[in-house]
């Protein structure tokens, strides 16, 4: 249903999917959609291995309009069980009528929260990307994103609805993305910005090394000027876009095409933060900045809120968040993104960071509180803290550290604590190290002073 254009117009012998396990033509893909998948009213679970078999199932879902829910192998068995239970609770609901997919993100209580998105919403957003990108059948589109990251859906829909080839880079080789892109002559690059800084650090993003790239899309994390400059030098023929959007509003709500002069060293960036603007909302999205205390619109720095028909109908598994994260105003339904932003007359909206303690690590959205609740259980200490470390100058997070405040009854065996965390948390959320601290730094109101803990960790591990 999203991909029917392909069946009519494409050269069926073109490569639809280039994968480390082999290549599939469009003819191969369309042949498999005749294989019956489970009854249409149910949600198809798709594992996160990104094997050819999983691509085929996902293609079948997108083509037949069967709703799917991507699982990630990094989710532990308990999380997967909780997700499957939640899904079974909605399979007989009216939600199923137009459901395209349900993506689970981390919840502050550690319980996964499901974000259902409809077919209409996905179709709308796919057409936004197709209009901006204008891909053609000769394009080679790189896929690094895991299926549980909604950017992956856009990559597939953009490729397969325009007859282009999707190049799937193995999940464990993401750091080699620049090398794969060069060898495969990728023309459209999609990634989180941290791939740039990590590739650069490994010496893989050399100036002029990616001349075939005509467009590059970055989203999911803040794109720094520095990272954008490094990428522009490596891919001098690329238009570079910064995309912004929460999963709750169907992948993307705003974008900014970086004017080439903005990345020149003599560009006057006064008044701008160190990250590229997120620009203007898509035509079907309204945005405003509110003071999170008063909930009134502000001209200054505040929480970015979005209103659009693209908003999810509400979380599955976290109904209390539906009242705290969404609100009604002037006849519209609004979503609080939790992001700090300001408005700039020249460049549109500017991203300034998170209001809460949510971070992006290896492309995953992580609530540090989730790690802390697991750390609390594993260490039997009330005073715990999770902090990102190391953090590169451009803000890229390279690791996580857990800190446990010593107490008479706590478990001080850090190996044992790490072992317990591995069974509780998805692997990307397990800290690389757990450190014991004699006295946890506290703020005046008795809460853990995150900044002081961060400084302590930086001192300990430098």
């Amino acid at each position: 249903m999203f991909l029917n254009a392909g069946e009519k117009h494409f050269d069926q012998n073109r490569i639809a999917l280039n994968h480390s396990e082999g290549r599939l033509t469009y003819s191969d893909l369309f042949r498999i959609v005749t294989i019956p998948i489970n009854d249409l009213p149910s949600v198809e679970f798709v594992g996160g291995e990104r094997s050819i078999a999983e691509y085929l199932r996902l293609f079948a879902c997108l083509f037949l309009g069967k709703p799917y829910c991507p699982l990630n192998p990094k989710f532990g068995p308990e999380r997967i069980f909780a997700i499957q239970e939640l899904i079974s609770s909605v399979e007989s609901s009216e939600l199923m009528a137009d459901l395209a997919y349900i993506i689970f993100t981390s919840g502050t209580t550690g319980t996964p929260k499901g974000v259902p998105i409809t077919k209409k919403q996905l179709t709308n957003r796919a057409s936004t990307f197709l209009q901006i990108l204008r891909p053609c059948a000769d394009d080679r589109i790189m896929q690094l994103a895991d299926f549980s990251f909604d950017l992956s859906i856009i990559e597939m829909v953009v490729a397969w609805s325009s007859g282009a080839s999707l190049y799937s880079i193995p999940a464990d080789k993401i750091l080699l993305a620049a090398r794969y892109a060069k060898e495969y002559e990728i023309t459209i690059w999609f990634s989180v910005p941290s791939v740039i800084s990590m590739s650069h650090k490994l010496g893989l993003l050399k100036p002029g090394s990616l001349p075939k790239i005509k467009a590059a899309f970055f989203g999911g994390e803040a794109l720094t000027f520095e990272a954008a400059r490094i990428f522009q030098l490596a891919a001098p023929n690329a238009k570079i876009f910064n995309f912004y959007g929460p999963t709750e509003a169907t992948i993307s709500v705003a974008h900014f095409e970086i004017p080439p002069d903005m990345l020149h060293t003599d560009f006057d960036s006064r008044g701008l933060p160190s990250v590229i603007p997120i620009g203007l909302p898509h035509s079907d999205v309204k945005m405003q900045i509110i003071n999170p205390q008063t909930m009134l619109a502000t001209d200054g720095i505040g929480e970015l809120c979005v209103s659009t028909e693209q908003l999810t109908s509400g979380y599955i598994g976290a109904p209390e968040l539906n009242t705290s994260q969404f609100f009604e105003q002037d006849g519209g339904r609004w979503y609080r993104t939790g992001d700090l932003a300001s408005w700039d007359e020249r460049y549109g909206y500017l991203y300034l960071g998170r209001i809460d303690r949510q971070i992006k690590f290896k492309g995953y959205r992580i609530e540090l509180q989730d790690i802390e609740s697991a750390l609390r259980a594993a260490s039997k200490s009330d005073l715990v803290c999770a902090v990102p470390h190391p953090v590169l100058e451009d803000g890229t997070i390279e690791g996580l550290v857990g800190v446990v405040g010593r107490s008479s009854s706590c478990n001080e065996n850090t190996d044992q604590i790490l072992g317990s965390l591995t069974s509780i948390l998805p692997s990307y959320m397990v800290p690389a190290k757990v450190l014991m601290i004699d006295e946890m730094p506290l703020s005046i109101n008795g809460k853990v002073d995150f900044k002081a803990v961060q400084n302590w960790v930086n001192e300990q591990l430098t």
């Binding site: 193995p170 464990d172 080789k173 750091l175 080699l176 794969y180 060898e183 490994l202």
Partner: protein
């Protein structure tokens, strides 16, 4: 280059990257089989092998390397060409 010699050199690179002078490799080991050997350090190891053995892997060759044994075979094949 004998297999034993290749493996000895690979082992040295692993010890350096994983910062563990006492580690021991076996031929069937894959990413994840040693503490600290995740997909990120695996890429560092592959790049270090390229530098050390003065070779460059192609993407398809990288895709085919699963175990220590595969890595040693690939290095020897590249050196032989």
């Amino acid at each position: 280059m004998t297999r034993a010699n290749t493996l000895l050199q690979i082992s040295g690179l692993f010890k350096e990257i994983l910062n563990n002078p006492n580690l021991t490799l076996n031929l069937d080991m894959q990413t994840g089989d040693l503490p600290g050997w995740d997909s990120f350090t695996n890429v560092e190891i592959l790049l270090k092998c390229e530098e050390h053995f003065s070779i460059q892997f192609k993407s398809k060759e990288i895709d085919s390397i699963r175990t220590i044994s595969d890595l040693a075979s690939m290095i020897e094949a590249k050196k032989a060409n």
